[in-house]
Subunit: 388 residues, 2 copies
């Protein structure tokens, strides 16, 4: 069953209601957003047009009432098909005043007596507007307080609705199909570049909207880099190949990987695979309500360390997942986020072996009241060796 | 001929030399970057890993000497394969100090007596790091001056090398092939969603690395929105379809569109097509050294207005093109950028007709000493009507 695209209005009303409760708790009069994920979260505004850095896009969430979009005129038609009714536009680009006076007026309209504006400023946030324009806005709004609302928006987006989970699960299943079919076609593709291209086409054929993220590579007995585009290198017997992909369905991501050996594999890489597989199992068992993301990290790390693994270079072993390839929280020693039902996480343990070789696994799961639910189809327990 | 991937070191040395000349002219001691395009421009660091918002990435360009990368450890291997030798890493994510003390130390090391740091803060720039971290950096570096270097980096990136032009031209040619083949397969695809998917697969088959951007839609007698993802709507005789795509080869974009009518077309849309085609011709003729981007805009706009066209909602009629889907400058009344050889531009005139219907054309060209060179294969002069 292909999930319905978009969301019913009730989904956005619920997000808004929760946001306004948290705003009330934090004494924020208005929330101010200029980033794709947040604008889409509250409006449903879905477009690849964000790839053009030319125009800023703004959204205000007042303490009472519905969201107000302050956007370039070119987006009015597309935003007009969302549930948003108050859409204020200007002709953009307009370097001398690219929406700044309009967003100022709107923020002032909704700032109450405490004149307090919340916006994401913390970890994992970016300022998707020119810094000089933001400084100008602050200067023109003396007496108003711009405060960090990262914890608020993080808390909201971290817990997914069943409708969101359905979309993420759907893309996980489609990509699981592709990973499972890879042994049937890989020998038709001579180079890494060809394998990547074929993988993308197979994902599209399965029904994903976009293969937004595909990294990995192959090397004899193992790989040493997991963030690169494909090299032109020929795929060779003895290579170990990893593909790590973030495919998208209706604006929601999967993020998982699979490892394969070609024709034969040595004991070192087979063992590394088993260790990281076991670490993933341990992480899965620890991903229960009552534990923290640090607990999940420690569960995985303990398996790795007790097998003599050196730490990886990744700094964490998985993360939140949803509207972005990676989201808050992190499975990391510093992150003590409590597991809550509806959180979607990746488990991503990794280790070094035989010098600088890497072995990384990744699965996606949903936290449920009665335990975690894996939404990727679990990798095989032993390193798959693909033979012609 | 498929262009070679990457660049020889001389390409980066030339970019650096020009940057350092401009830094000297502007009295900047060091340039500070945290955005994908700028980091890649000076280093060749190409990865989709930027899609994860978790980690910041930094680059310093000193007034003398080679660039210094200050990056998360996970990127060390990938950055190590570029020409950059001074790579400083920290274990990220690390919320309490995510590279801030390391970038501070590096900036201080290269700030000369005037302690002046340039960074992009102006139009079309974003701050791809947490705002609170940037504020902390500024506070910890009292006495240092952070200045807007948008004009500097814009001037550099705006003029493409022949190696860059070769990559952009290559992707334009591949996508031209796909647009020209569309009439052969479109009736195999029942809905807009299917057409989009097939188009992406055809582009990958041609050899593009990614179809990063594909928007458009179809409507009876014309379309009214050019930034949306596909609807599930059935393609129907009488529809006018636009597809506008930014495909990527080795990190360089094309950005152009094509219009098609299905089975039949009325006079209004045929006429709108002819007018916008003529506007593109006029823009092409005006895209010569000595003219400005405003002149190119006026040339196109004059054709539209003399045919009674109402202005579009786009705010400009084309833009720079290269490492990003859209780059500086804009073909707009406010933009008086002089045409220079090596600039790659889109021409993108558009008009409204029959109420709220839109007609938009787009082509890509290179400015040459002796006149513009079109690098897309020109759209047909009359609206193509595709029949079964």
């Amino acid at each position: 069953m292909i999930p319905e695209r978009g969301f019913p209005q009730i989904e956005f009303e619920q997000r808004l209601e929760k946001a306004q409760q948290l705003m009330n708790d934090s004494n924020l009069d208005v929330l101010f957003f200029c980033s794709e994920a947040e604008v889409r979260y509250f409006t449903g505004f879905l477009t690849q047009f964000w790839q053009s850095p030319t125009r800023p896009w703004f959204l205000c969430i007042p303490q009472k009432g519905n969201p107000v979009a302050v956007i370039p005129e070119i987006g009015a038609d597309c935003m007009g098909r969302t549930w948003i009714e108050d859409i204020r536009t200007w002709s953009s680009p307009h370097p001398e005043d690219d929406g700044i006076s309009l967003i100022q007026k709107t923020l002032e309209e909704f700032s109450g007596s405490s004149k307090t504006i919340g916006m994401p400023m913390g970890v994992e946030s970016v300022l998707r507007m020119p810094l000089t324009d933001f400084v100008t806005l602050q200067e023109q709004m003396k007496g108003f307080h711009f405060r960090d609302a990262t914890p608020l928006i993080r808390q909201l987006r971290m817990i997914k609705s069943e409708r969101e989970i359905e979309k993420i699960s759907h893309v996980c299943q489609m990509v699981s199909n592709v990973f499972e079919s890879l042994p049937e076609w890989i020998f038709e593709e001579p180079t890494e570049t060809d394998v990547f291209r074929r993988f993308k086409m197979e994902c599209l054929q399965q029904g994903v909207d976009d293969v937004s993220y595909l990294v990995g590579g192959a090397g004899p007995g193992g790989y040493s880099d997991i963030i690169s585009p494909p090299s032109g290198k020929k795929i060779t017997p003895g290579d170990v190949l990893i593909l790590d992909t973030g495919c998208v369905f209706d604006g929601y991501f999967c993020d998982f990987d699979r490892n394969y050996a070609l024709e034969h594999a040595d004991d070192a890489v087979r063992k590394a695979y088993r260790v990281v597989y076991q670490a993933t199992e341990a992480g899965f068992e620890a991903a229960v309500v009552g534990n923290t993301t640090a607990d999940v990290f420690q569960a995985m790390n303990q398996v790795l360390e007790s097998n003599g693994a050196k730490g990886g270079q990744v700094g964490r072993m998985g993360h939140g997942l949803g509207m972005q390839l990676t989201e808050w929280p992190s499975n990391a020693p510093f992150d003590h986020t409590m597991m809550e039902p509806g959180m979607v996480l990746t488990l991503e343990p990794g280790m070094q072996f035989s010098g600088n070789k890497l072995m990384v696994h990744e699965e996606n799961l949903v936290i449920r009241e009665d335990g975690p639910e894996m939404i990727t189809r679990r990798a095989s327990a032993e390193l798959p060796v693909i033979c012609r």
